[in-house]
Amino acid sequence: MVDRIGEVIEASTGEFMAQCYELHQPPPFGSLVMTKEGEVEIYGVVSGATTTSIEPGRRPIARGSEEADEEGIYRSSPQLAKLLRTEFSALVVGHRENERLHHYLPPRPARIHSFVYLCDTDVVALFSQSLDFLSILVSAQGQADELVAASLRHAAAAHKAPRDFLVKAGKDLAVLLGGETNRLNTILRRIRG
């Protein structure tokens, strides 16, 4: 049903950071992930991913000058996979408590080491029936417009009528971004498909 992809390594009410089990395999930008805090399921939209050295301050060095292809680097230095890690951050957009979906922040943040799952299309379709979470995304720090567009593209793919879904979402955005025509245009251009 859902794919377990990582573990929470940093959490706050509005955001959590997780480390992926597989190097270079973070969930796609804008996709919906889920973690748990006791009985409460916490949903987040993937807002970014990074792959870094596990030791801060120790940067990887280029090793491929003698290798025929990129994969060869990892073959000849198998320890590399252990020295590097891929992390992703997710913006909390809702939770499920007592079988009910809420499109607002949960009472408590996720626990460290909670498992993180990638939601399948059924869950995405269910969750995105209400677009109330858009207001959280549009006010996100950083690349909010990219994030909104990416999450909508993802959600649309889970719906039977993607275009209708996008039009509805677009209309919600038009209201949310009433005074910000430029941002609205930017997002609309990214989701028109």
Binding site: V167, G170, K171, A174, G178, G179, T181, N185
Partner: protein
């Protein structure tokens, strides 16, 4: 209560703001295009406790962000266009609520009531259903008169002739918008329901026998439709004969019937100075009320005229000018030294029997002086008789005379501010139905009519007007004036009219009913000769077995 509400009609939007005096603003739903909306259409507003019935008086475009106007989004992309429509950009309607209808059992019994408040915020606005319109304007029974249908609807709008004739009314519109057509329709309504008797001063011979439609087609007029109820009088027998119209009476007016007051009315058209008008009164005193005109016109020589001027204490030039101007009266064939038959008496007799009189002016219709002279002269005498009779009816136990409606065209010539105080038409308009006489005025320049008279008109029926002053004058004193203004200015130039006032529950834009086809005649109760004969035979058969 839900069953009373018709939710089948298209939802248009929600009430966003408004006031009782100015009407409410409605935000259009995203799916509704402003291009599907037209001013003059009816809507209902589902308030919390009542349903409101109103008219769309304006349509506007709006946007959440003014920057959208300067930096339009990429609407060539259908997706973006679809998103933007109804959200960032949306339509706005201005609705003037006029009545409340059927909110609860009591209001259903009472029927539509004038609004005293506005619907609450975000009340749903829908297109009015045929039933709603019917509830407001009343059901039209088979033999009842209706004037037309609201825009884009099939419901018949009743114009109650009884209410119409209670007060004077006016038909306005610029040339070529169908004033005559409408007026003829209204006259038919009055005849059809017997609400009053008509006296029509028919300037261009359009009401009596036949008229011409906008397309130049001949249409049956009153006499053909109601042969036994209408008499055609004429001032110009020759012209009537040429048009192959059989007339019932040829009106002649004797010089002895023309009073100085009648001449005073003509001061503008004939270009008479005040001094000249005054002189006519002196002449009447000198020669007598009945002889002055004949005697004065008989004076030929210059010396004789000077002598007369001296003895009257008038300036010679004044009298000479008056003489010259009055000379035109001699050219009028219907003016004779002594009329062989009293036209006023004949008209009154007809009216008393319930016969409607159409007075055709023949070729004199183009001569505004003749029109004013005759209409004024006859009306004054007839009104006098009516007044006497009404006063007598008050004192004694006799019936009041039938209500009389006098139709005049080019009304501003009779009712302009300079003379409306003096003319009989001004008096009739002002005194309302005190003496059972009211006016139906037809005019293309309502701004030329005295404001006081305009304000006394109970029902106004107006086709397209585009002069600002004319519009202002027609709408003076009407609530929601500025809103109706936009409706009035946007009427089609044909077959559309705005009606408001006494005879209708609320202002209504109608597409006037079809007139000129055999079917339309039938609706007025007209039967072809063959049919009439058949019916008579049937009746005879019923009677004799």
């Amino acid at each position: 209560m839900e069953t009373l509400h018709n939710h089948g009609e298209r939802r248009l939007g929600i009430v966003a703001s408004g006031s009782l005096t100015k009407g409410v603003e409605v935000r259009l739903d995203g799916g509704i295009s402003v291009e599907d909306i037209a001013v003059g259409r009816y809507v209902t507003v589902e308030g919390e406790k009542r349903r409101f019935f109103g008219m769309i008086t304006d349509v506007a475009l709006d946007a959440i962000d003014p920057r959208l106007m300067t930096m339009p989004p990429d609407v060539s992309d259908p997706f973006i266009a679809e998103v933007i429509t109804g959200t960032s950009t949306f339509g706005r309607l201005h609705v003037l609520p006029a009545l409340t209808i059927g909110g609860d059992a009591l209001s259903l019994l009472e029927g539509p009531q004038p609004v005293k408040t506005v619907p609450a915020h975000f009340s749903t606005v829908r297109e009015a259903s045929e039933q709603d319109v019917e509830r407001v304007f009343g059901q039209v029974e088979e033999k009842q008169f209706y004037i037309g249908t609201p825009l884009d609807m099939e419901t018949k709008v009743r114009l109650d002739p009884e209410k119409l004739v209670m007060r004077s009314s006016g038909v306005f519109g610029k040339t070529g918008t169908g004033k005559t057509f409408l007026a003829r329709l209204i006259l038919i309504g009055i005849i059809q329901e017997g609400a009053a008797v008509n006296l029509v001063f028919d300037m261009h011979n359009e009401y009596g026998w036949e008229g011409t439609s906008e397309e130049g087609r001949k249409v049956k007029a009153l006499k053909q439709l109601f042969p036994s109820k209408v008499a055609v009088f004429t001032l110009d027998e020759e012209n009537a004969r040429r048009r192959k119209v059989s007339t019932d009476f040829v009106v002649e007016i004797g010089y002895d019937e023309v009073e100085p007051d009648d001449i005073a009315m003509l001061h503008e058209t004939l270009g008479l100075t005040d001094a000249a008008v005054q002189a006519t009164y002196r002449l009447a005193r000198r020669f007598g009320e009945r002889n002055w005109l004949e005697s004065f016109l008989a004076i030929e020589g210059r010396e004789e005229l000077n002598e007369l001027a001296q003895s009257l204490g008038e300036h010679e030039a004044t009298l000479a000018a008056l003489r010259r101007r009055l000379e035109m009266l001699r050219r009028l064939r219907f003016l004779v030294p002594h009329a062989s038959e009293n036209a006023i008496q004949r008209i009154l007799e007809s009216l008393d029997r319930g016969i409607h009189v159409v007075l055709e002016f023949g070729r004199y219709g183009d001569d505004i002086a003749s029109y004013i002279l005759v209409a004024n002269l006859l009306t004054r005498r007839i009104h006098e008789r009516y007044r006497e009779r009404v006063e007598r009816a008050k004192g004694e136990d006799v019936a009041r005379p039938r209500p009389l409606v006098i139709t005049i065209e080019e009304a501003h010539k009779f009712l302009n501010p300079d003379i409306s105080g003096q003319t009989i038409f001004g008096t009739i308009a002002r005194e309302m139905r005190k003496y059972n006489v009211t006016l139906l005025v037809i005019d293309q320049r309502p701004s030329g009519i005295d404001d006081e008279v305009m304000s006394q008109l109970g029902t106004k029926i107006t086709c397209l007007l585009d002069d600002e002053r004319d519009i202002d004058s027609v709408l003076a004193g009407v609530s929601g004036k500025s809103e109706l203004k936009s409706v009035l200015a946007k009427l089609d130039s044909k077959q559309q009219a705005l009606i408001f006032g006494h005879a209708v529950p609320m202002p209504v834009v109608v597409r006037t009913r079809e007139y000129g086809s055999p079917q339309s005649y039938k609706e007025f109760g007209f039967r072809e000769a063959l049919e009439r004969k058949k019916k008579a035979e049937e009746e005879a058969k019923d009677l004799w077995g």
